[in-house]
Point group: C3
Chain length 165, copies 3
Amino acid sequence: MKRILENISNLGMTLPECPQPVAAYIPACRCGSLIFVSGQLPSKEGKMPQGTVPNVVSIEEAYTAAGQCFMNGLAAALSVLKADESLRLVQMQGFVQCAPEFKEIPQVINGASELALKIFGAEGTHARTAVGVAALPKNAPVEIAFTYQVEKEGSPKFEGRYNWL
Amino acid sequence: MKRILENISNLGMTLPECPQPVAAYIPACRCGSLIFVSGQLPSKEGKMPQGTVPNVVSIEEAYTAAGQCFMNGLAAALSVLKADESLRLVQMQGFVQCAPEFKEIPQVINGASELALKIFGAEGTHARTAVGVAALPKNAPVEIAFTYQVEKEGSPKFEGRYNWL
Amino acid sequence: MKRILENISNLGMTLPECPQPVAAYIPACRCGSLIFVSGQLPSKEGKMPQGTVPNVVSIEEAYTAAGQCFMNGLAAALSVLKADESLRLVQMQGFVQCAPEFKEIPQVINGASELALKIFGAEGTHARTAVGVAALPKNAPVEIAFTYQVEKEGSPKFEGRYNWL
């Protein structure tokens, strides 16, 4: 956990508070060595961009919002992690609230994926699903769910990592 | 399994028949200690509410429908469980068929989440994703997929459960 | 892996190149005995059907496209598999880019499910989620994500397989 927090600090970023769920569920659920993180909205200190991409929320704003989803999800994952454990990101499921004509969905979700690579390095590479949907909770422009794997700190296990990385 | 069935009975509820898939897949797939349950529609004894939320199907009706999705998914999960095993819910992925203007998606999916807590107690707390989509199979108002963890009956394992629970 | 490749060959099919991600993620991420495959588009040799189902892309074309998603996802999964290992499909998450009036979503995703059964037999049965969405990357008619389980070749493990199979 220490290395993750150091990397966040080195990037000049701050880990947000663990997000409060908007309903009857928990932010992150640990199951063996997997952590399932609930779909995260891009709320930051009680505020959140709202609207459909790209007519109300621009691609650039949505990209930044996706990064905030990532930070909120990371705070949720860390809330169920022990001090001597570390995380590896394995999966990201992104939903963009957009007009049917909008197809640059991957560019929006990249805001989370590229931040994952900055913070985690090779352990941040992940499988990803990205789709555009009609409506998201609280009129959020983006919602992203995450799956993490728990590892012992200092002993990353890179089995089967895709070979061009 | 016994305790789950007792809790359902104590709530005055009845476990439905394991739902028949509407296409070429199975209701639940067990993979080690995980059970992946297919996306469930709110069919009940051959009938199902149909239409978009909230103009055709009200929020209240959709909330009830989400609970039916949960019961159908539970029947599917139990169909791959042995008598001396128990379940812990870890993840729920909810899709509401709604108008683009509708943003109360979490309130609909709560119909499943709150029923999970009633039936499972602490073992029903889960990570969750909730989005609004344009169309669902058979014009269903809601579809929910579930991930369960298999546990030995009587020996629940609460590692890393979120600390305010 | 050998048996999978033989089955593909016996069906007169060809395994595509492992798809290149359209953004900052990897095609497949291995996590213990699970493989999470990124959402796959139906691109084939650089070409892809584009548009909404059923008005621009017909159900039949979308069914075929779903099969291509499956082949692309299989190529991705095989890219992180060792020669003496085999695969079992456990989950499929399908998204169809469709008009709100279109409800035959399962029939489209069947193009992937039925191909899975042809190639994998009993080890191709899977849990499935199928929803219709407003927009997909690159204007694709269908996107499907997959979860596979890694098995040792020649020793399939069918614990808890659903009992009517």
